[in-house]
């Protein structure tokens, strides 16, 4: 006897498509989410709540990670996140971090699915081809455009991926005048300006409002519902179907398996901290890469002594992030004519431009290699953080009128354009998730220890792309451009750890993202990705989760579990 047909652990971009698809197919679905259930009524443009306090993440004294990275002498040093300057929680709430994303949406390209075949092996990197091809995911990329609601405009360019539809279902979001500056410059330079698709509604649809162009988007929850979070776009509809229940504030700490190796129940702490158990026919884990690997490693059972799906010690291996660099250009209003200065001061619309002219590189300097994407946008408008940065003059603390004059100049005399580069973070033996042997969270469970080794090849690519970004900002009129590349991982762009593949000895999941060695366990967040592509991951996570959801529907139908009201189900 089970309580639900399917139990989904985690409600972000990996969990939402599964919950919606299965609920609409008539199966009973329970979604267990660690964080609270916030809605549009809880999201305001409040820098303190959003970005200067831990409103949307865990209390790091109670729930944290240990990050292991090389120091200046290349010795590995492990530091708990409560003491180390990094935070790998990205939005603990119903809908997960998709509530807080910027929603710059790009598809992977066909060659991203066969990186090893196309570009060959790289020493020290564990590159593998994907077990599926782009063509198999394309229908689901298109589905995400409709279901999540993607706004944009398709333009032809040398690296445009094949599409089954001519254009996006929603027209582009309002564009800032700077986008036209960018287009003009690209024409002059013979580059291909790409209007960036956004997971933001440009017009009302599916009961959601369109964007209000308040100028604050990334890192903020969306108060209009325009942002295509898993919650706003998918889970609300799943609940409305009558077949999906969401339980917020429920932290799953163990998946229990029986003597046959099947998962039979999820054990969790509820909002009161009391232990609860729920039984289901099938379990889907989508807690984001780090916590998904951690939960599987914690879920030992009689047939899984090293953790679920870990028969070949692959869980947690080959964690990847998005490699990259960034730069900010200062464009002085005084350097522009009156019309352009007025344009630069406009707040609200998006720049929405990217370059993929160097997605693949083949030249004397770099040889034939994979490159990446350069995104162009305004610097984040949060004022407090930008003001605080002004208090240092080199290494000297400023105050008084010198500080006030500097801050005033910073805010009133220039606009700030930014570029961000996205390149592969090559999977390697020094980037993984394990259970820390000493430190535990408030539930007395070992915390995840994240080793974040970066392959030097990625820095080389990032530097190449960043130089291109630097040149673009300079040519756009920036008085100065500060830029750099980093070996630190962006905690909000994580994938891998449970890669899918055809060889059970080298992968955790099969090509349908079912665990090789657990017949009723699926993983649908970004953990499945053997390589991450050179774009943000979210669109691919959404698409793959819809693809896997269809596979699960087929599996359940094959088991004869065709309706939500099958006899013997106990609803709680």
């Amino acid at each position: 006897m089970v309580d639900f047909d399917v139990c989904v652990v985690g409600s972000g971009a990996g969990g939402g498509p599964v919950a919606l698809t299965l609920a609409e197919a008539g199966y009973s679905v329970l979604v267990l989410e660690k964080g609270p259930w916030l809605t549009e009524d809880d999201f305001y443009k409040d820098e303190i709540a959003c970005c200067r306090r831990n409103t949307y993440s865990r209390n790091l004294r109670e729930e944290f990670h240990v990050v292991e990275k090389p120091d200046k002498n290349k010795a590995w040093v492990a530091t708990p996140t409560y003491d180390g300057g990094r935070d790998f929680w990205n939005g603990n709430m119903v809908g997960g971090s998709s509530n807080l994303m910027s929603g710059f949406f790009h598809r992977l390209k066909p060659k991203d699915f066969r990186l090893l075949s196309e570009f060959g092996p790289i020493d020290g990197a564990n590159v593998e081809d994907w077990p599926i091809a782009y063509d198999e995911l394309e229908p689901y990329y298109a589905k995400v455009e409709r279901e999540v609601g993607i706004s944009g405009r398709v333009v032809d360019h040398p690296n445009l991926e094949p599409r089954s539809t001519n254009d996006y279902p929603h027209p582009p979001t309002a564009e800032h005048p700077v986008a036209e500056w960018f287009d003009d410059l690209c024409r002059q330079k013979g580059l291909h300006s790409i209007p960036v698709a956004r997971a933001i509604l440009s017009r009302p649809a599916n009961g959601r409002s369109s964007c209000q162009y308040s100028g604050y988007c990334g890192s903020y929850g969306c108060s209009s519902g325009a942002k295509g979070s898993s919650r706003a776009a998918l889970l609300n509809r799943a609940v409305a179907s009558g077949n999906c229940e969401i339980r917020p504030n429920c932290h799953v700490y163990h998946l229990e398996s029986d003597m046959s190796g099947r998962v039979v129940s999820a054990n969790f702490y509820d909002v009161n901290g009391d232990t609860q158990t729920v039984r289901a026919d099938l379990f889907v884990v989508a807690c984001q890469a780090v916590e998904t690997s951690r939960l599987l490693l914690l879920s030992r059972g009689p047939r899984h002594p090293n953790g679920l799906a870990n028969s070949h010690d692959q869980v947690g291996k080959n964690l990847v992030f998005s490699g990259g660099g960034a730069g900010t250009g200062t464009i002085l209003y005084d350097s522009l004519d009156a019309k352009k200065a007025a344009q630069l001061k406009i707040r609200g619309p998006f720049v929405n431009r990217a370059l993929q002219d160097w997605y693949y590189i083949d030249n004397d300097e770099m040889g034939k290699t994979k490159g990446g994407t350069i995104e162009f946008l305004f610097r984040h408008p949060n004022p407090t953080g930008r003001a605080i940065q002004q208090k240092w003059e080199s290494d000297r603390l400023l105050w008084g009128h010198p500080l006030q004059n500097k801050v005033h100049r910073y805010f009133t005399t220039a606009g700030y354009l930014r570029f961000e580069t996205f390149a592969d973070w090559l999977p390697n033996d020094d980037c993984n998730v394990t259970l820390d042997s000493a430190l535990k969270d408030k539930w007395n469970a070992p915390v995840a220890r994240i080793k974040v080794g970066k392959h030097p090849h990625d820095l080389k690519i990032s530097r190449y792309l960043a130089r291109k970004g630097y040149q673009m900002l300079t040519d756009l009129g920036a008085d100065k451009v500060s830029w750099g590349v980093s070996s630190n991982p962006p905690g909000n762009l994580m994938a891998g750890g449970c890669r899918f593949g055809n060889d059970p000895k080298k992968s955790v999941l099969d090509q349908n993202c079912r665990a090789h060695d657990v017949e009723n366990l699926y993983v649908t967040d970004g953990s499945f990705m053997p390589t991450g592509g050179s774009v943000p991951h979210t669109w691919t996570i959404y698409a793959n989760a819809f693809r896997v959801a269809d596979q699960i529907v087929g599996k359940l139908a094959g088991l004869g579990l065709a309706t939500s009201d099958a006899d013997g189900r106990i609803r709680i």
Partner: protein, 190 residues
């Protein structure tokens, strides 16, 4: 990528004067005397009258009123600071750092000038603070922290008690986002 002012951990906060992210754990790890102080006399009205005068004078020196700019008093810096470090989830270490810093400032003032900070003239204050920022680690950390809270008072939503009538936003020609938070939906009340 996260914005430049993304959450900072306690150590980063203390070193760079960022904002605390590690929320308060139980006070159990603190010495009994301090625990008693924090939980009884000073939890909600943290500063004594003298401490309040000292921190107000310090903030006004660090962020003075000018012909075209608001000063610390105009932006409600002292009121905001007290809210910020008595908020329920504020790290006790941060709270402790601020309060102890006031005492250490007084000690340094008396040691160097034989009088309390509020009695110093402008140049004496400047010399003392420059010494603390450039020559002492605690002074550098503490003054950086005080400045961070001044900027939060200047540029956070008026719902938090600083930036009255959007004086900071208007001074810097900053366009806030919308919708703005009502007082019952600010940090700590969500």
């Amino acid at each position: 990528m996260p914005p430049p002012n993304s959450r900072l951990d306690r150590r980063t906060f203390l070193i760079r004067g960022g904002v605390v992210v590690a929320a308060a754990t139980a006070l159990a790890g603190l010495p009994y005397a301090l625990r008693k102080e924090l939980t009884t006399e000073t939890s909600f009205v943290l500063f004594s009258s003298q401490q309040h005068q000292t921190i107000t004078a310090l903030q006004e020196h660090l962020f003075p009123k000018g012909p075209d700019s608001p000063g610390a008093t105009d932006i409600g810096a002292a009121r905001y600071l007290e809210w910020a470090i008595t908020a329920p989830e504020t790290d006790p270490d941060t709270r402790n750092t601020i309060v102890n810093g006031i005492s250490r400032l007084q000690d340094a003032s008396i040691e160097r000038f034989d009088t309390v900070f509020t009695e110093l003239d402008f140049m004496q204050k400047e010399r003392l603070l420059r010494y603390l920022a450039d020559e002492t680690r605690w002074g550098r950390v503490w003054l950086s922290l005080v400045l961070t809270y001044i900027f939060e008072a200047l540029l956070s939503d008026p719902a938090y008690g600083g930036n009255p009538d959007q004086v900071g936003w208007r001074w810097l020609e900053h366009q806030p986002g919308f919708p703005r938070p009502p007082t019952d939906k600010i940090y700590g009340k969500l």
